[in-house]
Symmetry: C2
């Protein structure tokens, strides 16, 4: 039933699990492509399904402002609106409000006031409005409103964010949800482990169906990010899903899986595609490069995506050089498939009890892409 | 065998025919989507196939300059390059050279000198180089080089273009072709029927496999265009395909079919899509319009394309307002399907002997879109 979370296998700290949602079963570890404005940029939902994507993200901030959750609801809810029949996770909108700093007017204990990035209209976001928008959108997993400070924030700022996040989490979980909608809480605390422990205690005391590690991948040192992730994941309840917010480079994905994270999202594969680059086992390929001009081979010889099975590097380079939309599509398809395949291979290795060797082999093979 | 052209049915002047090419059979009347730079903008060749597109255009001017026909040949020819297994028609490059007037350096009886629109490099186009590029691309139908004056050109200019086109046609047809490649000649003469008759005599005396009506849809009066088309089509050999260069609005397509034209191309459906508009039986819909905000219906209730069967006008409006690539894709899919369906309906009506009634009913139903 909805919310059931089964650990199918573990290997070290890594887990292979199953999460039941109102729109289907998710097998973890799972990469979740980001559909900021109700579309995974350049891709059709049928393509995402064919790529093996199991769940997509929608963005509460953007969908609230354009076209508005009432429009989405009138058009049948977010699943019908974007013609995606699988599970959807929506964020709370908090990340955009706090990270689009030029538009932030004031944050207080009740909520946040900001100007719309679209037209400057003042807007108010509270735990209740964040959950209300997500209920109207009808996502399968709604995220509690949190305060996410930047990686360089001082301890006092991080501590205030932890406390505010805890109060907002309690109000979020007390707000009405859509039928069948799960709620996940978010742990804050930067790279400060005492604050992280406090936040874990606060958030896990609330009746959330899953727990997210927020406040990382926001400018802190990368090794500190992995170190903190490992320690926080170990503190989270083993029986519930763990979601790392915002990682999508292949090395990073493998390392958070190794820490016991089940779910993660990032715009990286689709954004990287739109800059003309492909994620491959040989590192990130900049398809503008002249060396690909007459290259008849696929983007990645190990990939089974529509771009790799049907088009040459030379053709894709031509499309990218000419800013043709098909080029962005093919790179987006490939990059999403690359991460989906990577997660599938990680799951198989966990099930086989060979994850440690898979991790070492994969990290050695992957050239750095960040 | 390649080049076989069979008239399957006629109704009035309208024809339903079959043309055999090295990459398959084309049933006419046929709309040919334009893949200027080796891609029909925003669409995947598998999508085009599913839409029922039978043949696509490639553009000699653009492919010669970027990536260069030698690159395309090294990557397996234009079919393999763009992963389109069906027939391809390439133009001669002449239309771009003469219409991008800022870049034209000089035209003489031997050929044309111009500056590349990409980087200003001086380039030379002659009948022999135009056919050579098309042979390297490996298209199924190559067009002879012609001189296409603008619609407002004086008679002396049009007459010179007719004479030059005739000489160039003779040189084009004498140039080597790729294996299995047909060559079509182009009739010029503007809206001047004595010049048109002279051009028809000159061009049809050469051993081309098909004949195109060029030099229309270039700024002349629209009724004069249809009048000239009807008269010129009647002068062309009934036993060979007739191709009207550059028409893609639904009304125009129906009217040239009624004149006995078999093939036509235009960027209109895909360009219109990229401006955010849909071709429908109710006229052209500007999807930016607020009235579509909560419209749960399809772009066109009679259409069976992926946009109309899976997405609402409200969602497509949202995508267009947010400049999301999926919006351009969905409108491109729809607009191409609309014209492909229109041609299919015209063919059925010709086969049934009901074309005249179909034409009247369709023209009355179609609101003007030009």
């Amino acid at each position: 039933m909805i919310g059931d979370f089964t650990i199918d296998a573990t290997d070290g700290l890594a887990r292979a699990a199953t999460l039941e949602t109102a729109h289907g079963t998710i097998r973890t570890p799972v990469f979740m492509p980001v559909g900021t404005k109700g579309t995974i940029k350049a891709l059709d939902p049928l393509e995402l399904e064919a790529l093996g994507a199991q769940i997509v993200l929608g963005n509460t901030y953007h969908l609230h402002l354009r076209p508005g959750e009432d429009v989405v609801r009138d058009l049948g809810g977010l699943h019908r609106f974007m013609a995606w029949g699988g599970p959807i996770l929506t964020d709370s909108g908090g990340f955009q409000v706090f990270s689009l700093r030029d538009t932030l007017i004031a944050a207080d204990d009740d909520g946040v006031t900001f100007r719309s990035v679209y037209d400057g209209t003042p807007e108010r976001l509270t735990p209740e409005t964040a959950m209300g928008v997500q209920a109207a959108l009808g996502s399968d997993i709604a995220m509690a409103l949190d305060e996410c400070p930047p990686g360089e924030a001082e301890r006092a700022v991080v501590e205030r964010a932890v406390e505010r996040t805890a109060r907002w989490a309690a109000r979020s979980v007390a707000s009405p949800a859509a039928p069948g909608q799960m709620r996940f809480g978010i742990v804050q605390g930067g790279v400060d482990m005492p604050l992280r422990r406090r936040s874990v205690d606060q958030i896990t005391s609330l009746p959330f169906e899953g727990f997210a590690i927020g406040g990382l991948s926001v400018g802190e040192e990368r090794e500190a990010m992995f170190e903190t992730t490992g320690q926080v994941a170990a503190l989270l309840p083993a029986a519930r899903p763990r979601y790392f917010m915002g990682i999508g480079d292949p090395e990073g994905v493998l390392r958070v899986i190794a820490s016991g994270v089940d779910m993660f999202d990032c715009v990286l594969p689709t954004r990287t595609a739109r800059t003309g680059s492909a994620l491959t086992w040989d590192g990130r390929l900049n398809m503008h490069n002249k060396r690909f001009e007459r290259d008849a081979g696929p983007l990645d010889p190990d990939c089974d995506c529509p771009a790799c099975t049907r088009f040459s590097r030379g053709y894709i380079r031509h499309l990218i050089m000419q800013r043709e939309l098909l080029g962005l599509r093919l790179l987006s398809l490939h990059n999403v498939r690359f991460l989906v395949s990577l997660c599938g291979a990680a799951r198989s290795a966990i099930e086989d009890g060979t994850f440690s060797a898979f991790l070492d082999r994969s990290l050695a093979r992957l050239r750095p892409t960040r």
